[in-house]
Symmetry: C2
Subunit: 406 residues, 2 copies
């Protein structure tokens, strides 16, 4: 069960984006496990991808195709990650692009492939390719929910965010989806996420917007510290709602788009944590008073990755010594523990490196009972701050990952 409100909002259509899906039986029967995106000609597209050295075949090919120019199609399968699959995996990803390009009448490089699911098995390429025409036949604008559902693996809920905004009298839409619940500690990218707007934005700025907002969203979440082989996040600007193209950061509309995109990306990233495998609590770890952002981030991740902190939160146990231990082993040099303050929600649990005098176990326990928990740390040595989002570690995390594949 996901934590808190994870409901799908009204998913506004994005002019210039069509979505199709089909049952290709990649791994499971009776589910739409093949999704296609089609973008209007002239759309600008940017992508960021996993830093995992074992990155999947489709990641290699998506990167190469993006270098060649803007794509017109994305093709996404679930059930099989096409990672750790060597030369056959590369050939299968290329064959998928080639077949879709042939059917759609575009160049191979105008198709980006994506896969998610089990690592180390070959794609059932014949079944996959047979699903392409039915998916193309189903293309329509109002199918974002189908896409969000189609790309799920261990997710328990489809994930979407959508906003409308006005720039110089023109109404624009920004709509996106994401998926992911385990093997989540994106590094410069995410599991899978696709965000599109019909605002007109130059290719350079689409890339810049994506990079900036990924660092505020998908690069600040963790479920289990495992960086996937397939993380990919794609931003599309079709320009189909009209208006003059935004080509410079100094255009006041750039800041407005950045603002909307940041909210959409943060929501999509946090939805992944709320649906983290086995999650029962949504945890915000905010570190402030740091000398620089990196050390705030290091300490926030150290807390967010600690199995001991995560199991204590699962048990609603204010065992805050485990938080101190995680701060202490984050590897930040010359940390003066006597300057460190720690709060659980509004309750100060640690003052100047020791237990706060007015802290009571009852007050800590009351905070821990909540399903949304904030751990705030002040390092008392500067003005930098950073925030990471995570979830607890429950029996169900073990169950889900011990059972997956069986």
């Amino acid at each position: 069960m996901a934590v808190g409100d994870v409901s799908m909002p009204q998913m506004h259509v994005v002019k210039g984006v069509k979505i199709g899906s089909a049952e290709a039986y990649v791994r499971y029967q009776n589910r739409r496990d093949l999704v296609i995106f089609e973008f209007a000609e002239g759309s600008n597209v940017a992508g960021v991808f996993t830093q995992n050295a074992f990155c999947a075949a489709p990641v290699h090919i998506s990167k190469a195709h993006l270098l060649a120019g803007n794509p017109r199609y994305l093709v996404i399968n679930t059930g099989n990650a096409n990672a750790g699959t060597g030369k056959i995996g590369m050939a299968n990803a290329e064959a998928t692009c080639a077949k879709l390009a042939e059917l759609a009448g575009v160049q191979n490089t105008e198709v980006l492939p994506f896969s998610t699911g089990v690592i180390g098995e070959q794609l059932p390429i014949e079944r996959l390719v047979q699903g392409l025409q039915p998916a193309l036949d189903s293309l329509q604008e109002d199918a974002w929910l189908d896409a969000a559902t189609g790309i799920m693996t261990t997710d328990t809920t489809p994930k979407g965010a959508s906003e409308q905004f006005e720039l110089d009298g023109v109404l624009y839409t920004m709509t996106g989806i994401s998926k992911g619940a385990g093997m989540i500690r994106p590094n410069m990218a995410t599991m899978l996420s696709y965000v599109a707007t019909d605002a007109p934005i130059s290719r350079e700025l689409v890339q810049q917007l994506l990079k900036t907002t990924v660092n505020l969203s998908f690069n600040r979440i963790t479920v289990d510290g495992d960086t996937s082989t397939n993380d990919s996040c794609i931003l599309i600007a079709t320009g189909q709602a009209g208006g003059v193209e935004i080509t410079s950061e100094t255009d006041s509309r750039y800041a407005a788009v950045l603002d909307v995109l940041t909210r959409v990306m943060k929501r999509l990233a946090q939805l992944i944590v709320r649906d983290g495998e086995g999650a029962t609590k949504f945890i915000t770890v905010a570190v402030e008073g740091g000398a620089d952002t990196q050390e705030c981030c290091d300490i926030a991740y150290s807390i967010a990755h600690s199995p001991l902190v995560k199991t204590a939160i699962f048990a609603s146990d204010p065992n805050w010594g485990r938080i101190l231990a995680a701060i202490g082993y984050a590897g930040v040099p010359n940390l003066d523990v006597e300057k460190i303050q720690v709060w659980l929600g509004d309750v100060q649990i640690c003052k100047d490196g020791g237990a706060a005098a007015d802290y009571t176990e009852a007050a800590g326990a009351a905070e821990m009972e909540k399903s949304e928990i904030t751990i705030r740390v002040d390092l008392g040595r500067g003005s930098a701050q950073d925030t990471v989002y995570t979830c607890d570690l429950s029996y169900d995390y073990v169950k889900i990952n011990a059972d997956y594949r069986s």
Copy 2:
């Protein structure tokens, strides 16, 4: 239940070492939670301690007292870590040393204090101090099993190793104990471990022997990646079995002692993993063919810390894609995945970065069913190698850590 053979060997007495214990009711009733070691005058003692910035009060004081010279006493309590306890915690640790020093007629600095247990609560100092005289009254040579039992927390079994060896016709003994099951990823030290020999070794060489062997043993294990606030490892050489003091590495007896000590330390470290919280499998992660030891170690720890790898092993599921993913996100630069080979036991699962052609799921599953699992990785880019030991991640890890304190 611990994994494999964790039985206590015959714990040979070490001439010049006496051990006492008492029930001080630090946290639980009816258990000997206070242990004292007494060393003969002239013993050389070395220690290594946690690198956690939030290191416990007793760690601060033990370090300071060791700088002043060789200690005559160690005093160890379980049930309370005296960490995150600020100035009161420091005063309590000092008071413990002062009282024992007074009762035993030595200087305060000749006593080293150690604590293990819950972090962030103050020691029940009055009960602790009242236990010192009864513990002193019970001092005897043949009490290593009592000591190993006395220092346990979530351990399910006492941990010990003991060997006898002959140098230049003199029979010497090396005996040690350790404790720890959770919050285990020692960094330059361990949870708690005490090893003593009656061989005559200079203070400088005792320190060097400890540092060398800790890096081969306690610094190569992990249960949950959480580095404790209290890790300490102490080596004592009493010299009471006679013979000429070893003062140089070139003395052939030095190599012989190093050899025995390495075996004893490795056994004590591996016992901690075999008794890791919730452990059902003992896992050896051996990485070879690296450009340097550090990258072998980074990749080994990346695999050993992956919750996905650990839950797959708990489930006996040869889901080897998770191993590849963990190799890939270890942060080793310029890794050529096409040169990587991975074995599970004797079964090659990954050849040149993809599935080995003759690999079968049945062969992988057969390896995974074993309680002792070896993951071997060849990076194909050099001759360095390193090995890390860990255990799986089971329901019981979550249960133990969600319930601890309650």
